[in-house]
């Protein structure tokens, strides 16, 4: 654990030492490159307008979800139970991400949602910083992870994470995924890109974690370096879904594909929201169904565990289409 923190911090400090000296410019109110790059906080909306003409792509994105324990968790924007998500956009990029807090920490008296929520909120803030690199979502996760260390209030726990950046200049999407959350890209009725689930063993995904002091060696902690990264170009009308394992474990892929192909090319956020809502509801209903052979059950059986029915879990659906 210690080594993963060490690696992350050293990587960041070495990489950032020079770029942070943009704070100490010698020019008289020079501003210059640093100012234009993204130090200005731009408004983030689900349908962020592109600066230039029609060639610059943007996301039209919506979010929906359910907490596993609807009764216990009062609705707070940005999280569904222990899951958390964020959306941000700048002139150069549109960013989306989800994080799923690992529930096992509850028995240690730690709120699992705090870690994932902090991770996502910090990612949102970091997108607006001048050193944000739209081509390296791993860096975003790593910086966000490092920020955890700089909080006065100790934040403990662990979570998976999946971050997706659309680079407007090059119309490519860069992704980083740790754990069993993931994304899926649909074009013309077919899955063109899909993330891989990262697991140590069954039901134990890769996770970024900050254990309580003293428990370091006993706790699984993966460094952001171990994230699965992918980069691919996107075209007008592509549908991208980022979701936590509550969706992927309960909704079979062909059903998801069916739902997602219906909104290809859709630019109306209302219609998109309707689809996201139905997908989330689907996942929720299936998760509470005790007979249905969900993907989770199938995978459990592959691991010699007799399971049946859906997997009750928090559900977060971030649905976006690429508009040019």
């Amino acid at each position: 654990m210690h080594s993963s923190l060490n690696w992350t911090s050293r990587m960041i400090s070495r990489a950032l030492r020079s770029s942070f000296s943009t704070l100490l410019e010698t020019a008289t109110g020079g501003g210059g490159a640093a100012a234009t790059k993204g130090a200005v906080k731009s408004a983030s909306g689900s349908a962020g307008e592109a600066a230039a003409g029609s060639q610059r792509p943007r996301f039209v994105s919506v979010v929906c979800g359910f907490a596993k324990d609807n009764l216990r968790h009062k609705y707070k924007p940005g999280k569904y139970g222990e899951d958390s998500w964020f959306k941000a956009s700048t002139e150069q990029a549109d960013v989306m991400g989800v994080a799923d807090g690992v529930g096992g920490w509850r028995s240690y008296g730690i709120d699992p949602g705090e870690f994932s929520s902090f991770l996502m909120r910090t990612c949102e803030r970091l997108v607006q910083c001048s050193h944000f690199n739209p081509q390296r979502p791993v860096n975003l996760l790593a910086y966000s992870y490092c920020e955890l260390m700089e909080q006065k209030k100790p934040i403990l726990g662990s979570s998976t994470a999946c971050v997706l950046i659309l680079n407007r200049e090059t119309s490519t999407v860069h992704t980083a995924n740790i754990g069993d959350s993931g994304f899926i890209v649909v074009r013309q009725g077919q899955v063109v890109h899909k993330s891989e689930e990262q697991q140590h063993y069954f039901n134990t995904p890769f996770q970024l974690s900050l254990p309580p002091p003293g428990h370091g060696p006993n706790v699984l902690s993966d460094s952001p370096e171990s994230a699965d990264t992918m980069s691919f170009p996107v075209r007008n009308g592509d549908v991208i879904l980022i979701a936590t394992d509550g969706v992927f474990d309960n909704v079979p892929e062909d059903l998801m594909l069916q739902v997602l192909s219906e909104v290809e090319g859709e630019q109306d956020p209302v219609k998109l929201q309707m689809t996201a809502n139905s997908l989330a509801l689907m996942a929720r209903t299936l998760s509470l169904n005790s007979e249905f052979l969900s993907p989770f059950a199938l995978s459990a059986r592959r691991n010699n565990i007799q399971a049946r029915g859906g997997k009750p879990d928090d559900i977060t659906v971030v649905l976006a289409t690429v508009a040019m």
Binding site: M1, H2, L5, N6, S9, R10, I12, S13, L16, R17, S18, F20, S21, T22, L23, L24, E25, T26, T28, G29, G31, A34, A35, A39, V40, K41, T122, R125, L126, Q128, C129, Y143, C146, E147, M149, E150, Q151, K152, K153, P154, L210, P211, P212, P213, G214, G216
Partner: protein, 673 residues
């Protein structure tokens, strides 16, 4: 010219008219624009604009480390994120110190030429810039935690001078009398200056605050001035002449004519209106002319005035008391002693009185200690030249904060140092932006008698302090490298060379050096160390802590944010046993501190005066009580963000605080608005 007939334009002489046009000409010269541009400027007034910070140029200190976005200066950028919520949030700008705790610590330094400092001395500052040039009408500072630290607001005008827009009144005590503990939108009344700016500097003094102060955002409101580009162009072409340095000028020039032009001339310049006024022989009211007016009044009209108002006393004349001894009769040494209490500005002014006073005030003994820190906005290469002539016996030099935005050239500084630096014992160059590596080399070569070297806030890349540039310094007792980048080999060789080192500040340096190596070096070569600051040295390990335990003279140790979650092992116990003189121990966010460690603190920390346990988990009430009982000299105990100290226990803590006479800091949950 008669005061009683003031306002009656019939008896104005042609001379009076000349005043007005001369004022206009002065103003035009000062702002470097021709007649035509001013005429055009009179027409378009610009529009009213409110803008938030676009970027940060400089800051003296921050709580977080520079690559972070928590509690750092970069959080001042943009709209306020937390206001009007009140509390300790990481999305704000926090400075490193608060209150007077650092002055009470063993590592406290004495100010050089302390008489130069104003009543409310600036302790920290931040320089920010905005997008558009405006004539400021309002500066709003959003404070979200412990408001009340802002003491001065400066604006950097297009004339490349800093103007003070607002200064806190220390006499009325209004702003530092601890405003209520609630978030505040602080918008003080600004002085009426016509400076066009987009760069502000905010000065802070938090010596009376209870805890850290936090700033969420700064907003600059003002009227834009169109034709900025033409103004700038004309300025560059006309080469604005900087005032010759005879006496230290105030922000506004001292000549009465120029003063009056700034205060009384109408906003619209030489257009059709002023032409009309000229033709009317209009005489504007000039307040600063008061001295002349009063003189004339007393000479010409006083007797008539008294008669008219039937006031007695015009006839009674006090017999003139001729003093038997005057100031210049005193012996030279006494006069020197008297003048030694003067601040630098007054010293230069005294020198203008007479030849005798000029000789006394330029005596080198008065310039043995030189501090330009309070005059950072006036320091320039010419000033350094002038001072070089006088300061032949220079021992202590403080050029902190000077030379930002190009007022001092490195060559001039090197010349100054070569001329006068060989007997320097104390040198402070905090936040000096003009420093380059050859300057540091000069320091290393010339100033080999240095006992104290302070180079705070010089975090340039590549680092200024590179290999062997300061190898010549062997007598250092105090080395301050707070927030400064340097090469690790340099530090290690300096530690080896300066065996008498007593105070070492390596705050925020943890990313560039291996702190365990540094600790090992300290234990071997610098056993006389009294104070050590390793704030945010994340990679210090338990091994490093054990090395530190070999420094038996240690009185102050700041391990804030070190060690991360790593277990302290035996380190703290060893440290406390071997360093009985330990007065200040900061363990902020050292999350590996266990309950046993707290028991050791209680058992062995007999001399502890300041203890910071912020953010340490699992501190129980019993341990806190133990520490309070067994550490009789304790003055400060910081228990903020300690999870187990709950909100409802504040009464208990307050009771203990009173009973043991210890200032206990704890996190309150503030009710969101």
């Amino acid at each position: 010219m008669s005061l009683l007939a003031y306002g009656d334009s019939s008896d104005t002489e042609p001379d009076a008219l000349v005043d007005f046009t001369a004022m206009l000409r002065q103003r035009q010269r000062q702002f470097g624009c021709g007649n035509k541009a001013q005429a055009e400027q009179a027409d378009d007034q610009g529009y009213y604009l409110e803008q938030y910070v676009l970027g940060v140029l400089d800051f003296s200190s921050q709580y977080g480390i520079d690559y972070s976005i928590s509690y750092t200066a970069a959080n001042v950028i943009g709209r306020p994120t937390k206001y009007p919520a009140y509390g300790d949030y990481p999305e704000t700008f926090t400075m490193r110190t608060y209150g007077d705790w650092w002055k009470r610590a063993p590592s406290a330094t004495r100010e050089i030429q302390a008489q130069n400092l104003p009543k409310l001395a600036t302790q920290d500052y931040i320089v920010v810039y905005f997008e558009e040039f405006v004539v400021p009408t309002e500066v709003v500072i959003y404070e979200t935690f412990n408001p009340g630290a802002v003491v001065r607001i400066w604006a950097y005008g297009m004339t490349k001078h800093w103007t003070c827009l607002w200064e806190a009144e220390s006499e009325t005590d209004s702003d530092l009398a601890r405003p209520p503990a609630d978030s505040r939108r602080f918008a003080p009344p600004l002085n009426n200056t016509a400076v066009i700016t987009k760069t502000l500097r905010i000065d802070f003094n938090h010596s009376r605050l209870n805890y850290y102060t936090e700033i969420d955002a700064i907003m600059l409101c003002g009227r834009t001035v169109s034709r900025i580009k033409s103004l700038l162009g004309k300025q560059q072409r006309q080469q604005l002449k900087k005032p010759e340095f005879v006496s230290l000028p105030v922000a506004i020039p001292l000549t009465p004519k120029a003063e009056s032009s700034l205060e009384s001339s109408p906003i619209s310049g030489g257009g059709p209106i002023s032409y009309k006024l000229r033709s009317l022989k209009f005489q504007p009211k000039c307040r600063p002319d008061g001295a002349t007016k009063l003189h004339e009044f007393i000479n010409n009209d006083l007797s008539q005035f008294l008669m008219e108002n039937r006031v007695e006393g015009g006839e009674q004349q006090q017999p003139a008391v001729v003093p038997s001894i005057c100031l210049t009769d005193l012996p030279f040494e006494i006069l020197l002693r008297i003048l030694s209490y003067l601040d630098l500005k007054s010293l230069f002014r005294v020198g203008q009185v007479s030849r005798i006073f000029y000789d006394i005030s330029s005596h080198p003994l008065l310039y043995a200690e030189l501090s330009l820190k309070p005059y950072w906005h006036l320091a320039s290469s010419t000033l350094l030249c002038t001072l070089a002539l006088r300061a032949t016996m220079l021992r202590k030099l403080d050029l902190s904060w000077c030379g930002g935005l190009g007022n001092i050239s490195p060559t001039e500084f090197k010349k100054f140092l070569t001329q006068r630096g060989d007997n320097l014992t104390h040198l402070r160059l905090n936040s000096c932006k003009f420093l380059n590596s050859s300057c540091i080399e000069t320091v290393g070569i010339v100033c080999d008698n240095l006992i104290e070297l302070s180079l705070r806030n010089c975090a340039t890349d590549p680092p200024l302090l590179n290999f062997s540039c300061l190898a010549n310094l062997k007598n250092l007792e105090r080395l301050d490298l707070f927030q400064t980048a340097f090469e690790p080999e340099l530090l290690l060789s300096m530690l080896e060379g300066n065996r008498k080192l007593k105070h070492l500040n390596l705050a925020f340096c943890g990313v560039s050096v291996n702190m365990d190596n540094v600790a090992a070096h300290l234990a071997t070569y610098n056993t006389q160390l009294i104070s050590l600051d390793l704030w945010k040295a994340h990679f210090l390990s338990a091994r490093g802590l054990l090395s530190l335990a070999r420094l038996h003279q240690l009185e102050e140790l700041d391990l804030g944010w070190c060690l991360r979650e790593a277990s302290l092992g035996d380190g703290l116990f060893q440290l406390l046993s071997n360093c009985p003189k330990l007065k200040k121990l900061f363990l902020s966010a050292v999350r590996g501190t266990t309950e046993r460690d707290l028991m050791h603190i209680a058992a062995l920390g007999k001399s502890l005066e300041q203890l910071d346990l912020m953010g340490i988990l699992n501190i129980t009430h019993e341990r806190v009580y133990d520490i309070l009982v067994h550490c009789p000299k304790l003055q400060l105990l910081d228990l903020s963000f300690c999870d187990n100290i709950m909100d409802r226990d504040f009464d208990v803590l307050a009771d203990w605080s009173r009973h043991f006479n210890v200032d206990i800091k704890s996190s309150r949950v503030y009710v969101p608005r």
